[in-house]
Amino acid sequence: MADNVTPRVRVPRDASAGDSVSVRTLISHPMESGVRRDGDGNIIPRQIINRFTCEFNGENVIDVTLEPAISTNPYFQFEAIVNETGTFQFTWYDDDGSVYEETADITVS
């Protein structure tokens, strides 16, 4: 597991039913690309987050395949339809098998 991996997400606290809400996610992660070399000329092994998913009440919003060309601290902004009060479930999958999770609640009126 990479050091100091902290997921951060931002969704509106409340919304009207049927609204499309903006979701922003950021996770601190070095996203080591596997093409950089250290001071001795050895390649630093690749370690990136290779997949990110977001679900709302068990329904898929977005499923992203990440490659080494995604920047350090991967950031995504996208939109989700909310029809009822519920929970967003965010999951990040690391190359080394670690899984990072975060949730966010939204009240729909």
């Binding site: 950089r36 329904e59 977005i62 395949t65 990440l66 060309a69 920047s71 995504f76 996208f78 339809i81």
Partner: protein, 140 residues
């Protein structure tokens, strides 16, 4: 064999470019492979997809990219001049509000960023945008 001076210089330049230039950037074949893996060689339309990227990016390590393809099932991003052309693939689920996503990517140098969208009916759309990069973002 009669080789003119011009031919000789030209051949030398091509050989030098092949020797020094290729290992740093993705080969055209890698790009073709990535495109074919997504579109299966189908024709692409250029309307109905918007790719927003800066014309000049100061730092190639974090280049903000936004792509919007209303109704798309999936969007693939490619960077033609990176060591590997793949950047990311976004698959939209039933709870997606708008088939639009913003992220930040690495670019090794001035190059074209390409977005492909796969529509639910099996057709494809593409958009391209050239980005100039002041400081490359792939280490080395």
């Amino acid at each position: 064999m009669d080789v003119s001076r011009r031919q000789f210089v030209g051949t030398g330049l091509v050989a030098a470019a092949a020797f020094f230039g290729l290992p740093r950037i993705a080969s055209a074949e890698a790009l073709e492979d990535a495109i074919n893996a997504f579109t299966s060689g189908a024709d692409t339309a250029s309307d109905g997809i918007t790719l927003i990227a800066p014309e000049i990016a100061e730092n190639g390590n974090t280049v903000p990219i936004e792509v919007d393809a209303p109704g798309a099932a999936a969007i693939m991003l490619l960077a033609a001049g990176n060591p590997s052309p793949d950047v990311a693939t976004f698959n939209f689920g039933p709870a997606a509000g708008r088939q639009s996503v913003s992220t930040r990517i690495r670019l090794a140098g001035e190059q074209e960023v390409i977005a492909f969208a796969r529509m639910p009916d099996g057709s494809f759309k593409q958009a391209r945008q050239n980005v100039r990069v002041t400081i490359g973002g792939c280490g080395g």
